[in-house]
């Protein structure tokens, strides 16, 4: 039976899984900004990249900086380029997962049989094709970047631990882990929940106190260096782009944005019964998302980690539990996606579990060994094929052109100098993107009525659109004080969009009573 040398096993697992899911992602990639599923924020993120601005809190500076790099590539629609970038990040995150999982398997240090490598790659592919992962990988979103940096950081931490145990200099890996964690927080703030996990790997047990403190310095310096991406926010805000959520150019505004202040009220707030039911549902998500075939594997992996790599068990367990807890208490349209780190942990545990199963089968003799080597990869690869073909039609955003068509139709219809009143993400974000990308209607202003309540937004519109902001457009209109030449239109989306494409762009004239 062919074997893959230990030092190549992780890369073989990660790269083969990444190649498989990347193909699936590209085949189902959104052509631009979308309304569907996890992607409704894509218009906001893409518009912010287009103008070098600040997207909705917490600002996501790492994603913005990567987006600005992609913006510099003059090839096709910007939103499509950003979608490709997201898909690459999502597929790329499987590489550190493969590398890490291979190092955590109970028989690491020994060559890995090819069927086990194939099985492990299939497990990671199943993870990549999990509906939650897949749907957030094919349109501009931040979660793939967060996963890439978080798990790269933990892989670096594991390398640091190995270097330490081998008596080698470890500080470079420690600093790298810190930098990657800091960059991860710039992709999504929930990556900060990975900090205790990093500390668990680097600092818990097994070392002398002095050594621990010596490691804390490069780790902290690395985190600070990674978090330096947040400097983007005040700099971008100070340049006064038209997409500038919270205008984080002062310390208090900066803190308001990066702490997601406007979303704090979404934490908790439901009754105990509903919260418990939600927690139970989310706890079952890893198995539902990774399919039932993963259940025995992830349990075996958890047991193996507790037995062999207790620190890694602690670190990954913390990540899973904290993600599930946060997803439980946070209430928003896309709160389910917050448990993605728990799915990732389940995938890592499942890969480790494969090796544990093979280890347990070993005493059964060659016949049992051959049986396991034949059945497990066959079962997993079949699961990948079934899952992929089953889910793809539902997940695919290839034909998701409604958002762009809607924005186009609205802007074509709008009179010169129009002010478009919106009050739905699905209206505001695609319109922002269409308005602020090259060739957009520079004479048109998009005014989100929900954001009107914020002083920073009124001031922003006053500066950029030259419309009066001392009171609401409706009041000014009713009082006959609304400026001539700025016709007000309300943009309907909720009912029309759900029915058919021919009523996508329903503009309602707002005239004085």
């Amino acid at each position: 039976m062919p074997r893959i040398p230990d030092r190549f096993a992780g890369a073989a697992i990660g790269l083969s899984a990444a190649a498989g899911v990347l193909a699936a992602y590209l085949l189902t990639l959104a052509p631009g900004v979308v309304w569907s599923g996890a992607g409704v924020d894509s218009g906001d993120l893409a518009a912010a990249v287009a103008v070098g601005g600040v997207p909705h809190p917490t600002g996501y500076p790492t994603v913005m900086l990567l987006g600005l790099a992609v913006r510099a590539i003059p090839l096709g629609d910007l939103a499509l380029r950003l979608n490709v970038l997201t898909a690459l990040a999502a597929a790329g995150s499987l590489l550190p997962l493969g590398l890490l999982a291979a190092r955590l398997r109970p028989r690491s240090g020994t060559a890995m049989p090819a069927p086990e490598v194939a099985s492990a790659a299939a497990v990671l592919t199943l993870y990549g094709l999990a509906p939650l992962v897949w749907s957030s990988a094919i349109v501009t979103e931040v979660y793939a970047f967060a996963s890439l940096f978080l798990w790269s950081s933990l892989y670096a931490a594991e390398r640091a631990l190995a270097a330490s145990q081998a008596g080698k200099d470890e500080w470079r890996w420690v600093a790298t882990a810190g930098v990657l964690l800091g960059l991860g927080t710039g992709a999504h703030m929930t990556v900060t929940l990975g900090a205790p996990a990093l500390a668990a790997v680097l600092l818990a047990g097994g070392r002398r106190q002095r050594t621990k403190w010596r490691l804390a310095a490069p780790a902290a310096a690395g985190v600070v260096a990674g978090c330096a991406v947040y400097i983007y926010l005040p700099i971008a805000a100070a340049l006064d782009p038209p997409i500038n959520w919270g205008v984080p150019s002062t310390p208090d505004r900066f803190w308001s944005v990066v702490s997601g202040e406007i979303y704090h009220s979404r934490l908790g707030g439901t009754d105990v019964g509903a919260t418990a039911a939600k927690a139970a549902w989310l706890l079952g998500e890893p198995v539902r998302q990774l399919t039932w075939v993963s259940l025995p594997l992830l349990a075996a992996g958890a047991v193996s980690l507790i037995r062999v790599h207790r620190r890694a068990a602690l670190a990954t367990g913390w990540i899973a539990i904290s993600a599930l807890a946060f997803g439980t208490i946070y209430n928003s349209r896309d709160d389910e996606v917050l448990i993605l780190p728990a799915l990732t942990v389940a995938a890592v545990w499942s890969v480790v579990g494969l090796d544990e199963v093979a280890r347990l089968a070993a005493p059964g003799g060659a016949r049992v060994h051959r049986l396991v080597a034949a059945v497990v990869p066959t079962l997993l690869i079949a699961s990948v094929v079934i899952r992929g073909t089953d889910v793809a039609p539902e997940i695919s955003l290839r034909d998701a052109t409604h958002a762009a068509a809607f924005a186009h139709a609205v802007l074509v219809q709008a009179e010169s100098g129009s002010v478009l009143l919106t009050e739905d993400d699905r209206a505001t974000f695609p319109l922002w993107y269409a308005r602020y990308t090259p060739g957009g209607r520079t004479d048109v202003t998009v005014l989100d009525l929900r954001l009107w309540q914020f002083a920073w937004y009124r001031q922003l519109l006053g500066r950029h659109a030259g419309i009066p902001t001392e009171t609401s457009p409706a009041t000014l209109l009713a009082a006959g004080k609304w400026p001539a030449g700025r016709p007000l239109w309300a943009v309907d989306i909720d009912v029309g969009a759900a029915r058919s494409a021919d009523v996508l762009a329903n503009l309602r004239p707002m005239s004085p009573p």
Partner: protein, 205 residues
């Protein structure tokens, strides 16, 4: 850890995850969007009329809906139901009374045919404000410049006016003096506020 203990731990984990994976129903998706719907701290600091689209006249909000109502009602087959959703997002312009606050935008119902002539609403038409969680919530109608309470039936967590006639309506509620702290109540009410259901709307052209 002994082998037996690890086996028990693995089995327990597997059972727990299996039970959770078989959990019968997903929680209803939360409605909050990326742009926040209400934020009372800043709302309270703003001048009352600067908050949102709902002005005293209120006609702006519903004129749009009525325009669509015209179009849709003409296309409706006999007996069809039509539900129009206005998505109000603004809260708490002070209304009459010390603690009586308007917690939805004003909804003006005007129904006209394609020629611009008024159409009488059928007796089946009704206006529903959903989930008025606030205590003592009531539907008010604009009568001249003054808001007057109208008779409304309570159906579960909804208040229903039926039959409904053209005019301007809004939901009011008695809230305590520290109403800006009643965040959840106001959010819930405002987000779910208004719904006009018109059955056989165009039966009386």
């Amino acid at each position: 850890m002994t082998r037996r203990l690890t086996a028990v731990a693995g089995a327990a984990l597997m059972t727990l995850l299996a039970v959770a994976a078989l959990w019968p129903s997903a929680p209803p998706p939360a409605r909050a969007q990326t742009a926040p719907d209400v934020r009372l701290r800043e709302t309270a600091a703003a001048t009352p009329m600067s908050v949102g689209l709902a002005s005293a006249s209120g006609r702006l909000t519903l004129r749009l809906s009525s325009a669509r109502l015209d179009e849709d009602s003409l296309a409706l087959p006999d007996g069809a139901d039509l539900t129009l959703l206005a998505q109000p997002t603004y809260v708490a312009l002070p209304g009459a009374g010390s603690n009586l606050l308007r917690i939805s935008p004003a909804i003006t119902i005007t129904v006209r045919d394609a020629g611009g002539r008024d159409i009488a609403l059928s007796p089946a038409a009704r206006l529903t404000f959903s989930q008025p969680k606030a205590e003592a919530a009531a539907i008010y109608r604009l009568n001249g410049d003054a808001w007057r309470a109208v008779q409304a039936a309570t159906l579960g967590r909804s208040l229903v006016v039926q039959p409904v006639s053209p005019g301007t309506y809004a939901l009011f509620a008695e809230l305590s003096r520290d109403w800006p702290l009643q965040h959840e109540i106001l959010t819930a009410v405002a987000l779910n506020a208004a719904r006009l259901v018109a059955d056989d709307l165009a039966t009386q052209p």
